[in-house]
Symmetry: D2
Subunit: 339 residues, 4 copies
């Protein structure tokens, strides 16, 4: 096969198929993908064939947290980029609508986003993408570290939307990959050592290894926080977390899970809390790569499993079979270097 | 009586009593009160003897939207202030805590606020207050206009917290006094002509008289908004209003009523909406007085009833007996000039 | 001639020539231009053949403040746009660089801007432009009003960069077209009635007609301001204006003229003043058109002279020959309707 | 002597005198001072007897970067504070004026600031200060570290005023104590490793010891920066530094020296640079103490000399006699622990 790819046909139906090798259009680069992380949304598509109104009608290559090497360029792109290790920002916006022109391109209604039906994703040998969204990785980064710029971007965006700044006391609910990365990002921005909560001892232990403070979810928190990054998707985590906020506290809703959450109006008004939703990210990749490169954010210890491309289905199910799993990484071109 | 005052003893029990005339302490002024507006919170204390954890245990003078004339000053205050018409900002914060030092003095945990138990309010002939919180009214303002700086402040604060700016499309749910004032404030800040919704034809007609656009509450809104100022306290208004918001829309929760509201997580995340509570106001009085003085905010047409001090109880109940009521104003020192 | 255009060959050498009618490329519209305002930069190119490093080496169509009617569309553009009156935003950025993706597209190093060598401008019968930069004018606007969205945008941007908000006391130095428009924009944003200074009695009288307060430049200002919009380019205006600022005052440098200005360090530090340069604008056109449409900004009374296309050279020199001139407007397709 | 103090009588005239031990007024604490850093302004008063309009007419205790132990409290202060190590924020504002109520208390026109004539400073055994401005030091801090919260605050404020955030490329001109601390603060906020310039090899070597990147002042900088913290007071440093800024770059003017600086208008406009003055700080002490406590900002290696109180004059002159000096610290109560 010239371009083996992991294609989702429907719930519990992933097939490794050959796809045509794309040609880079003008202003695009062609990337030989090396590593692709598995995200909760990938798992959700695998399990249910849909996320809300996004339905997998036609076979779709899955995966969107990816990095690889530039192997060809389209017209208008500097040929010197060939050979670069790049992290692929998976959503390419229209750059013409109001949201784009204001710099909020994550809210572009015409964005083309990997592995969001009907757009193909990146668990594939070769992917073409706009050159401006193939971000050059600092020297020394591995491909899987570069691929992790995607979930790190989610953490950066959550921190930006909730205006995390130096000295803030930050609470993170949910010690999955996003929570563990968001906690490290908050710390890199000068926040006090963040506190992260979860129900899993394994995850809390990993959080401590990463230098975060931890508490079992549901425990009464005796301290006060300025910011809550809700990364669990659990309604109870939001409710409890908000009670722990100081006046003027800020909340970012990152985790998906509950369809609705109940807001205590008197609390939100009396303390003038602000709550903001978080949808993907914008203008985060350069910072994400830098934080990974400087060591401020350790992504390697968030990766618990590594698979070859042909084992993509196992990567999609490891979260259910192994309670000690966080991020699974698929190595598309080569055998995984460690596992 | 030297200092007749409207004193709340408990639910449905307001008495006109003589109270000692206060002496202005250092840095205070003594104000001969002229007019005091009745707020929903006053009505709530009158009906229930409490608001949440704030309970009227001891007799308490009611009212906090007040203006009058400086008749004496304490040490450290310029005697030239005697004779000034002033609007009284009813909450005097500690000015020492973190919230105060950061400029968020509305969140001061030690604030002393008129007519919040056990602090006396201002339906009284004479009130002493810190000079810095007795704001000089621009020339030409009447006392009742100056008293309206309080609810106008709520509108300003809601607009600031939701970052209303020129060109914003603003939706206001609830055409009570706060909604009608907030709508005019938003317009004064350069927003497109705001749209206000209510269930009352009377209120909607008044909104149109004030130059606002209107729609019956519950009607499907066919346009898109950038900001929602929720001033009704109705959960359905919030739910419907949020659906009408554009990506990156902002919501201020102003109205009180529902204990809890349900947030549609997918909506808040997918459009990156932000929701903030509003608690009183800070640094709004000078602007409120200016907007009233310039005519940008018409407060007079929001006042529907005027009473003498001895009729304070009627002022507190007019909202229930007259469906065509908005703001009731109590004239403390003299007979009301018009009614 | 099918596409008569005003072409600058060098200093004092403007010729009316026929140019090929452009074909709209994909995502472009073809606009039949109706009116084009003359800007100080156009005059500067006419007088000197250059502005700093931008030199008119090859003949270049002049003009960039333009409006007209869509007469054709390229692929990907809704054909219903044909017939729309549009204001042309004259700078089309790359939308790929960091500045663009952050929403600061005015700072795009690859922007293509009308009448900035070697890019042709818009004093021409027909111009093609990206559809997203041809802003639909609200109904009722005339073409010359729509063309004025360009200088109004400069005023909006100056106000945004200096964070003008409700209640601000705003000083504008220089009552040329930009100053007169910026003053009205500040007022529309809720600022106190701005004060504008100039050396010309004619300009000050016009400012008063527009509802602004005025003072002769060089007069000692006895009041204090929060914001200075320096629109004269005179170093003395900046120096004097900054002295009139309150602590935390903000300055926008809009006017061009002096190569350097001298900052009084003790003043800037002691009052924590902030000074920002202003370069064109971003995301201002919709608001500009709305402010013109609502009447908040009167652009018509800023236009003092109107010329036919063949008289473009007179339009470029009227500022020197007539002291009662402000904005000159060139009617490209038809005889000017009034003058 | 019960309260020996370093009193400045005029240029080159410092005397160690006994002063009455102050009694803490209500809401004040009495602090037994342990360590006081010498600031450039102290040296300036010593050399010239004045700074601009502030003239030492009457003998004045000098020094304002101080820390010590609470030994008594006034009415209204928790007696448990006795025994606390505190850093003294040297400026106590009025908390009543507009600047204070907005949270910009550093701009309070009525601020009472240590060692600014006619207010006494803190090189003294005992000082009384408002309790809210005696900031409790985290456990483990030494007195001299706590005293350094003052210059660290200057660095925090410069970073806040220029909006330093994660990923910013920060240039600092001037590797004196303020520059060395500001550079570390910027790094703690997530900036890329800042680059600092100076003419002194000694200072640059110290900067490298602190983990900063360095360049000789006047060298052509080949990289581009987002933020310039000008800490040298040299006009040439500002001019050169601004040329190295990217579009939308921000400048904080921290250093004092030049009375005026020349701004290149075309540069400021073309890149939309913003320049802000910095005057002391507000709401920085808790963060300063935390950054020192966490080790994010190393203050100890910025202290090069330590003196006993009776040697205050030597502390004031060491900068002239020893080129390897940075911060001199005066130990008021005890012999310096190391030197």
């Amino acid at each position: 096969m010239l371009n083996p790819s992991a294609v989702l046909y429907g719930p519990h139906d992933v097939r490794i198929e050959d796809r045509p090798v794309p040609k880079p259009a003008p202003n695009q680069v062609l990337v030989e993908i090396a590593a692709v992380g598995i995200c909760g949304s990938d798992v959700h598509y695998y399990e249910h064939g849909r996320i809300g109104g996004y339905v997998v009608h036609d076979p779709m290559i899955i995966g969107h947290e990816s990095a690889g090497t530039v192997v060809d360029v389209g017209d208008g792109v500097d040929r010197n980029r060939i050979g670069e290790l790049v992290a692929l920002e998976p959503g390419v916006p229209c750059r013409t609508c109001t949201q784009c022109l204001w710099g909020r391109y994550n809210l572009c209604p015409r964005v083309v986003f990997f592995a969001t039906p009907p757009v193909d994703g990146s668990i594939s040998h070769y992917v073409a993408i706009e050159a401006a969204f193939a971000h050059s990785a600092p020297s020394g980064l591995t491909a899987e570290e570069a691929a992790m710029a995607e979930p790190v971007s989610v953490g950066i965006w959550a921190a930006r939307k909730s205006a995390v700044t130096a000295g803030d006391r930050v609470l993170i609910t949910g010690a999955g990959p996003i929570g563990l990365l968001a906690g490290q990002v908050a710390r890199a921005l000068g926040a006090d050592t963040p506190l992260i909560t979860d129900v899993s001892d394994f995850r809390l232990a990993r959080a401590r290894d990463l230098g975060l403070r931890t508490a079992l979810a549901g425990t009464l928190l005796e301290e006060e926080f300025d910011v809550l990054l809700e990364c669990s998707g659990a309604a109870a985590a939001l409710t409890g977390g908000m009670r722990a906020l100081a006046p003027a506290g800020r909340v970012a809703l990152v985790g998906m899970g509950a369809d609705t959450v109940t807001l205590d109006v008197a609390l939100v008004q009396g303390r003038e809390l602000s709550v903001t939703g978080v949808f993907r990210y914008a203008n985060t990749y350069p910072l994400a790569l830098q934080l990974i490169s400087s060591g401020a954010v350790n992504v390697t210890d968030v990766i618990t499993h590594r698979f070859a491309l042909q084992d993509t289905e196992r990567a999609l199910t490891i979260g259910q079979t192994d309670r000690s799993s966080l991020k699974a990484m698929v190595y598309t071109a080569t055998a995984p270097s460690r596992s």
